[in-house]
Amino acid sequence: MPMILLDCDKDIPERQRHIYLKAPGESTKDFLPIANVATIPGTLSERGCAFCGAKLVIGGVVKDAIQMIHGPVGCAYDTWHTKRYPSDNGHVPLKYVWSTDMKESHIVFGGEKRLEQSINEAFDAMPHMKRMFLYTTCPTALIGDDVKAVSKKVMQERPDVDIFTVECPGFSGVSQSKGHHVLNIGWVDQKVGSVEPEIKSPYTINFIGDYNIQGDTQLLQTYWDRLGIQVIAHFTGNANYDELRSMHRAKLSVVNCARSAGYIANELKKRYGIPRLDIDTWGFNYMAEGIRKVCAFFGIEERGEALIAEEYAKWKPKLDWYKERLKGKKMAIWTGGPRLWHWTKSVEDDMGIEVVAMSSKFGHEEDFEKVVARGREGTYYIDDANELEFFEILENIKPDIIFTGPRVGELVKKLHIPYINGHAYHNGPYMGFQGFVNMARDIYNATHSPLLGLAATDIRRTAKAKLALKEVA
């Protein structure tokens, strides 16, 4: 019975199809959690909405674009100050968000005028910004505002600006994932091919599915620079709007996050014949393999080997110091989806850590095929886990560390389990060679905090013991 019905789920038995405990000899053709289906209302799931999948995850990272959100103010407020993607132009993506601040009268009479006015105000307020992502939200989709028409009008009146419309209201799809899809396809449909890049190297790639969390993109960029590889576009870490319009000119699409951005890599393959090469960028072993593959594609293997050798010489001893001390630690990963399969084996190979439970918020069944193939036996693989399930699983597996978001992190702190921010990191970047040392260091520090031991101490017991001793004396 490898699909597991937890005690807390006895009243929602359909959850059994989402929770898998891997046993020896099984493969994904025997068992696979079902994924990317609607959440049961009232379960305290971790999922967000499609709008945030588009705006917060992908579009909002673009560093030179206004992020105009057509809807009530909350959709803008809530997808601002919730991510850690710096940029090299003064962190514009972290500093600003724009909303049409829809009010009741706009719901009743339509919000297109309001939108047009807000777009013009935004361009007027920051005249150096000439690019815009424009998103619909639940109410503006429901009332049927024609945002494309509005953006077309503005672009005619302001020939120097360019606007990209993303129509994926929060209620569409079952999770953030829908928003990734809509944005990917929309971008390739509307924008790719509309700018010609300056080609500076015979070796050109798109680097897809990396959002510069705590500088990941910028760290990896130093590798591409050393290899003489020109990144035509980063999708979308630290990216310019116009570089993303020129993705059609790369010779290879290198994909990290296949969940949020595999779509655009597929479309680039289909429409422009650019092959898609999937790699893992977290972990020494994986990063080296990724670099080898990219270099093999271009026939520059010796450059890759030189870079790997330098990086190993510099960082491997540091990683090994942590590996020595982290061996056998048990880890749970409760994040979006892909990090489950990116991390489960890399932390084992490079840090000696055993991943004993994983939950994905918005992964698809493809992600579970990957993670079950890579992950350990005796490990839980869960789709869209909810809070009571987390408690029960924790009781079963007793991890030493959990990679999850800050809110769940606060929850598990009370259970004396340290957490690391699995989405935005503690002190990253975590990608690449240096990044994985950062990650090991953060795990080491978290699992060796004296506070956890102190939290478990009941001072009443020690006090009583002393009192008793005193009485005896």
Binding site: A258, D278, A296, F297, E369, K370, A373
Partner: protein
């Protein structure tokens, strides 16, 4: 089934992302393309690298073959026919698990 093919299969399952692309047809294409290049490399031939697609298959195949050679010493002693046979079995195993019997319900989605 050759136990050696099973060994290779276990390696590929754990290691290679190309077997898990989004749709049945591109999984099949990847498996076929990369295994074919792998066979040629293991047989000491020089695989074609004319198209971007060829070069991409070859990039994946090169790393896989290097790992095969270091992880499975028997492969160095295998002759061309043996390699052909064991690699074809590997391809069959991959297609069986990731395509034919995959429980992933999105593999045949009409959109990419």
């Amino acid at each position: 089934m050759d136990a050696r093919a099973e060994e290779l299969f276990d390696y590929v399952q754990e290691r290679c992302l190309w077997q898990f692309h989004s749709r049945s047809w591109d999984r099949q294409e990847n498996i076929e393309g990369i295994i074919t290049k792998g066979i040629e490399l293991l047989q000491g031939k020089t695989p074609a690298a004319d198209t971007p697609k060829d070069r991409c298959f070859l990039a994946d195949a090169r790393i896989m073959v290097a790992d095969f050679r270091s992880g499975f010493p028997w492969i160095k002693d295998a002759d061309a026919a043996e390699i052909q046979q064991v690699m074809e079995q590997l391809a069959q195993l991959l297609v069986d698990v990731t395509v034919t019997h995959s429980k992933n319900r999105e593999l045949s989605h009409h959109l990419y």
